[in-house]
C-alpha cells in the first residue's frame, strides 16, 4: 500500500463545513484524493459522511470551505460537478426505475454528448453517429459491470446487487476522473461484496480514482489505500488501514468509551475488580473485546457494533 503524495491530487477539499441551522453536520474537513487511489471514508452513523459527499458533489453548497477538482474549484451545481468529472452513486439506490438498464447508462452519458433538441428533431448524420457512439460506450460499460445481457430490462426489475452495479455503470458513463461510492455494498451478501471489491479495483485500474463510504470494515481495509475517519462531522484520523485500525480514538468512536468520565477511575477499577472476579465463566466482556477490535478481527467487530 503506497500513498502517492508527489502527484497533484484529483480532488481537494479544504475546510469544508456544512451547517444546517444550529447543527454543524460537517466541521472543516480537509481531504485529498490522488490519481489512481482508492480512499475510504468511514465513521459511525450520523457522522456526516453522506453530507460531506453531498458537499463534494454540489447537492449541498458548503457553508465554508472549497472543493476543487484537478486544481479548479468545483461550482456548487450537481450537473456542473458531474460535467467537471466527479460522478457518484447514492446510498439508497436512485436509479431511473422505469427506464431500461441501457437507458439508465445512456442518461449517464448526458454530459459527454452535445446533441440538443434541434439535432434530435432533424436527425442529421451527426445525431445518428452520436447516438450510436453513446450506445456503444454504454454497452461497453454494461459489459464491464456484467449487465450486458440485461440491457433491455427495466432497472426496477433487476435484483438488488445488480441495481448497485447499474448505479456504478451509470456513474462511470460520464467518464469521471473521480468516482464517489456511497455505501456500495450495503445489503449485499459476502459473495456480492467480493464482486464489488473486484469491480472497484478494476475501475481504479482503468485510471479512475475512487472515494468510498462504507460500513463494512473488511471491505474498506481490503480495498483502500487510505482511510479517513469522520466522527461527529470532524475528521478524526486519516491514514493507511493499519494506522486507522490501531488508532484508539477510532475504536472509541465506534464502540464508545465506557470507563471514562463520570463513573470515575476508582469506580472503574472497582467494576474491573468485580468483573475479574466473575471472569472465570464469561471470559470478560467489553474490555477484552475492545482490545480485539484494534487487531485483525477489528473489521467484523466494528461492523457489528455499528449496525446496532
Amino acid at each position: 500500500m503506497t500513498t502517492i503524495t508527489t502527484t497533484n491530487p484529483v480532488l481537494t477539499a479544504t475546510g469544508v463545513t456544512m451547517r444546517f441551522g444550529g447543527l454543524t453536520a460537517v466541521r472543516s474537513v480537509d481531504l485529498a484524493v490522488h490519481p489512481g487511489e482508492i480512499v475510504g471514508l468511514i465513521g459511525p452513523n450520523g457522522a456526516g459522511k453522506t453530507t460531506f459527499f453531498n458537499c463534494l458533489t454540489g447537492l449541498y453548497v458548503p457553508t465554508e470551505g472549497t472543493v476543487s477538482y484537478k486544481g479548479s474549484v468545483l461550482p456548487p451545481k450537481p450537473h456542473l460537478v458531474t460535467q467537471a468529472g466527479v460522478a457518484r452513486t447514492f446510498q439508497n439506490i436512485r436509479l431511473f426505475a422505469n427506464m431500461t438498464v441501457l437507458e439508465n447508462v445512456l442518461v449517464g452519458r448526458h454530459t459527454r454528448t452535445r446533441e440538443g433538441l434541434w439535432s434530435a428533431l432533424l436527425r442529421g448524420p451527426g445525431f445518428k453517429r452520436a447516438e450510436a457512439a453513446s450506445k456503444e460506450r454504454a454497452m461497453e460499460l454494461l459489459e464491464f459491470t456484467g449487465l450486458a445481457d440485461k440491457a433491455d430490462h427495466l432497472s426496477r426489475n433487476l435484483p438488488y446487487g445488480e441495481q448497485r452495479k447499474l448505479e456504478i455503470a451509470r456513474a462511470l458513463a460520464s467518464d469521471p476522473g473521480l468516482l464517489l461510492l456511497d455505501e456500495p455494498t450495503a445489503g449485499m451478501n459476502p459473495q456480492e461484496t467480493r464482486a464489488t471489491e473486484e469491480l472497484v479495483f478494476a475501475i481504479r485500474d482503468k485510471g479512475t480514482a475512487v472515494l468510498v463510504i462504507e460500513h463494512d470494515m473488511r471491505f474498506i481495509f481490503n480495498l483502500c489505500d487510505r482511510v479517513a475517519v469522520l466522527v461527529q462531522g470532524q475528521k478524526l484520523v486519516e491514514g493507511t488501514s493499519d494506522v486507522v485500525q490501531s488508532d484508539e480514538r477510532v475504536v472509541a468512536a465506534y464502540l464508545g468509551t465506557p470507563f471514562e468520565g463520570d463513573p470515575g477511575e476508582a469506580e472503574a477499577a472497582e467494576v474491573e475488580a468485580a468483573e475479574a472476579g466473575a471472569a472465570g465463566a464469561t471470559g470478560g466482556a467489553g474490555l477484552t473485546n475492545t482490545t480485539g477490535a484494534t487487531g485483525d478481527a477489528g473489521g467484523t467487530t466494528a461492523r457489528t457494533e455499528d449496525e446496532q
Binding site: T57, N98, E103, G116, A130, E131, S134, H153, L158
Partner: protein, 580 residues
C-alpha cells in the same frame, strides 16, 4: 395413489366433456343471436334505426350481429375448429366472456330502450324476445367455463405481404368503427350508447383473445407500413363523410388531439404538471387572429398564413419561456399551482385588454370575430375544391391542414422523445436529484420541454382561430363544459396514456366525441369526466394505451429475471420461495 390418478383422469374427462358442451352451447347461443338480428324487434320506426324489418338487420341490430358473430367465432376457436384457432392466441374463455357480455349488454340495452322509449313491452316484436334470450345463453355458459388464459405463443410466420394486408385490414376496420361512431344520429342518444357499449366490450374481447397483441407486434415489425396505413386512414377520413358536420367533428378532434399530444411532452415525458396549458393554445389563436387582417383586429396587418403560423409559434414560445423561467425552479405541486394561475391570468388579461379596463388589444369579452378564411397560395379554405372527382368542402380543407400539424407534432414528439433530450426528460420525471447528479441541467431541460409544448400548442392555435373564425377569452378556461380547457386536455392525456403518441389522440377523440353525441349529458359532463377518471385511476392507472415502459412494468413475462415458470425444480421449492 393409482386410484387417485384414475379418479383424477375420470374427473378430467368429465370436466373436458363438460367444457366442450359449454363451448358448443356458447356457439349455439352466438348463432341464435345472429339469427335474431334478422327478425324484427319492434313494430314502429319511431325507434331510431330500422329495427322493424324481417330479413335483414338494421340500426342497433347490426351491433348485436357483429358481436354475436365474434362470440360464435371465438366459441368455434375454443372448440378447436380448424381455421378458427388463430383467433384466440391468448386463451378463449376471457375473450368469450367479453364478447358474450357485449352482445348481451348491447341487445338488452336495445330491447330495454325500445320498451322505455315507446312505453311498454308491448312494443316489442317476438324477435326482440328471441334476441334477449339468445344473447343471454352465451353469458351463462361462458361464466361456467374454466379460465384458460395462456401466454401468447410465438405465432406461425406469415409471408410479409399477408402481414401487411392484416395491418391494412386492421386500420380499415378501425376507420370503419370510428366512422360508424361519428356518423351515428346525434339527435337520438340510443344508437351512440349502444355503439359505446359494443365498442368497449368488443375491444375488451379482442384484447383478451390476444389478437390486439398480435396486431401490435405486427405493427412494430412493419413500422413504415403501419405509418403509411395510419396516414392513408387519416387522409381518407373526410372523403367518407356524408355531412359537413361529421368532418367538422373530425377537425375539432384533430385540433384537440394535437394539443393534447403537445401537452403530453410536458406532462408525459418531462413529468411537469401543467394546469394552464390551454393558455398557450389561446396565445397562438389570438396571435393568428390579430395578424389575420380581421376587421375587428386592433392590428391592421394581414400576414400570409405561414407567417401567421410562425408568429403564433414564436409568441407562444416567448410566453412559454417567460412563464417557465421563473416557475420551473419549483418542483411538483408548486409548478402545478403556478401554471394554474397563469392560465387564469391569461384569460382575465385578455378579457381586460378591451380599451376601457386596459389598452385596446383584444376587444375584451367580444373577442375577435370574422377572422377571414385561410388562403395558402391562392387556395381558399372556405371554397369547395374538387380533385379527380373527390370533393373537399371547407371542413375537409381544414381537416387536411390540421392533419399536417398533427403529423408535425407526432414527429416532434417521437423524435424528441427518443433522443438524448428525451431521455433527460424521463430521467427528470423519474428522479430529479439523481438526474442532476448524472449531469443533467434540470432547469434547462425542463424549460426546453415547457417551451416546446407551448410552441406546439401555439401552432395548433393558429389553425384553430381560422377554423373557428372567432376567438373569445371564455374558451380558454381551466375547466368547463366545452373543450378546449386545461382539464379536458389533461384528462385526454391521462385517459389515453401518458408518454405515448396514440394515447392522447385516442383520449381526445373519446372525450370530445362522447359529450357531442350524448347531448343529454351536457349538464353533467364534468361529473361524468370526474367519475370516468376515478374509475380509470382505480382500474387502469396507466391509461388506455400504456407506454412501453409501463407495459414492461405490468407485463413482465418477457423478462429473464422474473423468477416464475423457469426451472424451479419442484413445487416444494416454489412454495418456500413464495413464502419467503
Amino acid at each position: 395413489m393409482s386410484t387417485d390418478t384414475t379418479k383424477n383422469t375420470a374427473r378430467n374427462t368429465g370436466a373436458a366433456s363438460r367444457t366442450t358442451l359449454l363451448r358448443a352451447l356458447t356457439a349455439a347461443g352466438g348463432l341464435a343471436g345472429v339469427f335474431s338480428t334478422f327478425l324484427a324487434w319492434t313494430w314502429t320506426a319511431e325507434f331510431p334505426g330500422d329495427l322493424t324489418v324481417y330479413g335483414y338487420p338494421g340500426g342497433l341490430q347490426l351491433l348485436t350481429l357483429v358481436l354475436a358473430l365474434i362470440t360464435t367465432a371465438f366459441a368455434g376457436a375454443a372448440l378447436g375448429i380448424r381455421g378458427l384457432r388463430w383467433l384466440t392466441p391468448a386463451g378463449s374463455t376471457m375473450a368469450l366472456r367479453g364478447a358474450a357480455l357485449g352482445t348481451f349488454a348491447t341487445t338488452w340495452f336495445t330491447v330495454i330502450a325500445i320498451a322505455v322509449d315507446l312505453d311498454g313491452l308491448v312494443n316489442l316484436e317476438p324477435g326482440g324476445f328471441v334476441a334477449a334470450l339468445a344473447t343471454a345463453i352465451p353469458v351463462a355458459t361462458t361464466f361456467l367455463l374454466p379460465d384458460d388464459t395462456r401466454p401468447i405463443c410465438r405465432p406461425k410466420a406469415l409471408p410479409s405481404w399477408a402481414e401487411i394486408l392484416i395491418i391494412a385490414g386492421a386500420f380499415a376496420v378501425g376507420l370503419y368503427v370510428l366512422n360508424y361512431g361519428i356518423q351515428t344520429d346525434a339527435d337520438h342518444p340510443e344508437p351512440f350508447i349502444g355503439y359505446l357499449i359494443a365498442v368497449i366490450f368488443g375491444a375488451l374481447a379482442l384484447v383478451k383473445s390476444g389478437l390486439i397483441a398480435r396486431i401490435s407486434a405486427l405493427t412494430t415489425t412493419h413500422r413504415s407500413t403501419t405509418l403509411v396505413a395510419a396516414l392513408v386512414t387519416a387522409v381518407v377520413f373526410p372523403f367518407l363523410q356524408e355531412k359537413a358536420s361529421f368532418t367538422e367533428l373530425g377537425v375539432s378532434i384533430a385540433i384537440f388531439a394535437t394539443v393534447a399530444l403537445g401537452l403530453n411532452i410536458v406532462v408525459g415525458l418531462a413529468g411537469l404538471l401543467d394546469l394552464g396549458y390551454v393558455a398557450f393554445l389561446g396565445v397562438g389563436a389570438y396571435t393568428a387572429a390579430l395578424v389575420s387582417g380581421a376587421t375587428s383586429s386592433t392590428i391592421g396587418v394581414h400576414f400570409p398564413f405561414w407567417a401567421a403560423m410562425i408568429t403564433g409559434a414564436v409568441v407562444s414560445l416567448i410566453f412559454g419561456v417567460v412563464i417557465g423561467a421563473p416557475t420551473l425552479r419549483l418542483r411538483g405541486d408548486y409548478l402545478a399551482i403556478v401554471t394554474l394561475g397563469f392560465g387564469e391570468i391569461f384569460r382575465i388579461t385578455v378579457l381586460n385588454l378591451d380599451g376601457t379596463s386596459g389598452p385596446s388589444v383584444t376587444n375584451g369579452p367580444n373577442g375577435i370575430p370574422n377572422i377571414p378564411p385561410l388562403e395558402i397560395f391562392g387556395f381558399n379554405f372556405d371554397d369547395e375544391h374538387t380533385f379527380g372527382g373527390l370533393t373537399l368542402d371547407s371542413n375537409g380543407n381544414y381537416y387536411l391542414l390540421m392533419l399536417l400539424v398533427t403529423i408535425l407534432v407526432v414527429l416532434v414528439f417521437s423524435r424528441a422523445g427518443n433522443s438524448r433530450i428525451g431521455r433527460a426528460w424521463v430521467a427528470i420525471r423519474e428522479d430529479e436529484t439523481a438526474a442532476t447528479a448524472m449531469g443533467i441541467n434540470g432547469f434547462r431541460v425542463k424549460l426546453i420541454a415547457f417551451a416546446l409544448g407551448a410552441t406546439l400548442a401555439g401552432v395548433a392555435g393558429t389553425v384553430w382561430a381560422h377554423f373557428q373564425t372567432t376567438v373569445v377569452p371564455e374558451q380558454y378556461v381551466f375547466a368547463g363544459p366545452v373543450p378546449p380547457n386545461s382539464t379536458f386536455l389533461l384528462a385526454a392525456v391521462i385517459l389515453g396514456g401518458m408518454g405515448t403518441i396514440g394515447g392522447p389522440l385516442l383520449g381526445a377523440t373519446l372525450l370530445f366525441l362522447i359529450p357531442k353525441k350524448l347531448e343529454f349529458l351536457q349538464d353533467y359532463q364534468l361529473l361524468a369526466f370526474g367519475i370516468a377518471l376515478i374509475l380509470l385511476m382505480r382500474f387502469r392507472p396507466e391509461g388506455i394505451i400504456p407506454n412501453r415502459r409501463q407495459q414492461l412494468e405490468y407485463h413482465e413475462t418477457g423478462q429473464l429475471d422474473v423468477p416464475d415458470d423457469t426451472g424451479l425444480p419442484n413445487s416444494a421449492v416454489g412454495v418456500t420461495k413464495a413464502e419467503a
